[in-house]
């Protein structure tokens, strides 16, 4: 037992040193292996296209349509406006559309504000609704935009004080039965 113990003590240092060296070099090998990979290739072709759905002026309020008819700013005051914007489908494909609020400012003064869609045959569809300064609806339900059809955007506003409020929204245009959609920016300025 004594001899075994002394022998063990003599060889432990070089063995440990060699083992440490082996571990170190093995770690280096692991690092080299970590960079190995194979690739899947994906080629994407994106082309600029004319928008198939465009925004056009309404008959009430004040509306500014920006370049390419793909964004708009609507100015209204304390009353009902039918209609402030038209959403015009210029091609034979059908779509579904909705409004979705993404930002706002100073909406506390809005006692009742409803932004809604309608067309010439179907009923109205509430899209964004604010009551006593709080949203009861910030995203609308999908509304059909048939081939070559027009949807009208109207707004009813009741305020309880002077000032200016903003509701920034996306008009989302969905290809039916897909998750492919476009977002047009529409800003509502309410004085």
């Amino acid at each position: 037992m004594v001899r075994y113990s002394r022998y063990s003590g003599k060889i432990s240092n070089p063995v440990l040193a060699a083992a440490a060296l082996l571990i170190f070099l093995s770690l280096l090998l692991q690092s080299v292996l970590g960079t190995a990979y194979y690739s899947l290739a994906m080629n994407a072709y994106a082309s600029v296209s004319s928008p198939p759905v465009i925004l056009q002026n309404g008959t009430a309020g004040t509306c500014t349509i920006y370049a390419n008819n793909t964004s708009a700013k609507v100015n209204v005051a304390n009353t009902t406006y039918d209609y402030v914007l038209r959403v015009n489908n210029t091609i034979a494909d059908s779509w579904q559309i909705r409004l979705k609020k993404y930002a706002d400012s100073n909406i506390n003064r809005l006692q009742n504000c409803t932004i809604y869609f309608h067309n010439s045959t179907d009923g109205t569809s509430s899209q964004v609704h604010i009551e006593n300064g709080a949203y009861t609806q910030d995203t609308g339900t999908w509304y059909n935009l048939p081939s070559l059809a027009t949807i009208y955007i109207a707004i009813t506003v009741v305020t309880n004080s002077t000032g200016t409020s903003h509701v920034h929204s996306y008009l989302e245009i969905l290809t039916p039965n897909t998750s492919t959609y476009a977002q047009y920016v529409i800003a509502f300025e309410i004085t």
């Binding site: 060296l21 970590g34 690739s39 899947l40 290739a41 296209s49 004319s50 998750s179």
Partner: protein, 182 residues
């Protein structure tokens, strides 16, 4: 003197043996790399079509290890989103893998584009966002590796935007790689 020589000799022999073992091990590891390359034909990771494969014009080929998206649209001043044109699938039922996105090439004028963005929807999403300032493109950096769980599919979301005055028929072509760590 005898003890010193004995210890040094042992150290030298052990070290040389270690290096020999490491060298031999390294050769085996490199051989394993070659084997992995060969087994790529039957790899665990490949593309599958998503819900938006028609609107994006997706075609898969080369045993689903290559894909083209030929119908992506970019509209002036509009964010166009394809939530699910194509997915990355880990078909292994027992092993998670790690992947990253790498930019490969880009052609097409920067004048009329604002951005073209690719996002792999893993639990920690990774993106390649190609942006234009109207004069030149900024190519994104390679992403870090993220885990793709076994027997799971992850969508690659594509978002595009052209600038407000862009005329029709301008084209950008982008190749990216989904790199799978071995």
């Amino acid at each position: 003197m005898k003890r010193v020589f004995s210890k040094s000799a042992k150290m030298l022999v052990l070290t040389l043996m270690g290096i020999l073992v490491i060298s031999a091990t390294a050769a085996v590891y490199y051989s394993l790399d070659m084997t992995s390359t060969i087994t790529t034909a039957a790899n665990d990771i490949w593309f599958v079509e998503g819900l938006d494969n028609v609107t994006a014009g997706v075609t898969l080929f080369n045993d689903n290890k290559s894909a083209t998206l030929t119908d992506l649209k970019a509209y002036p001043n509009i964010t166009m989103t394809y939530d699910d044109p194509i997915k990355v699938r880990n078909n292994n039922t027992g092993t998670n893998h790690f992947v990253r996105l790498t930019p490969v090439s880009l052609t097409g004028t920067a004048t009329y584009f604002v951005y073209i963005n690719f996002t792999l929807q893993t639990s920690t999403p990774i993106s390649l966002n190609y942006t234009s300032n109207g004069a030149s493109w900024t190519t994104p950096s390679q992403t870090s590796f993220v885990q793709v769980d076994m027997n799971t599919e992850y969508s690659i979301v594509v978002e595009t935007m052209a600038n407000a005055t862009a005329p029709a028929d301008q084209i950008a072509t982008i190749e990216i790689a989904v790199e799978v760590q071995l």
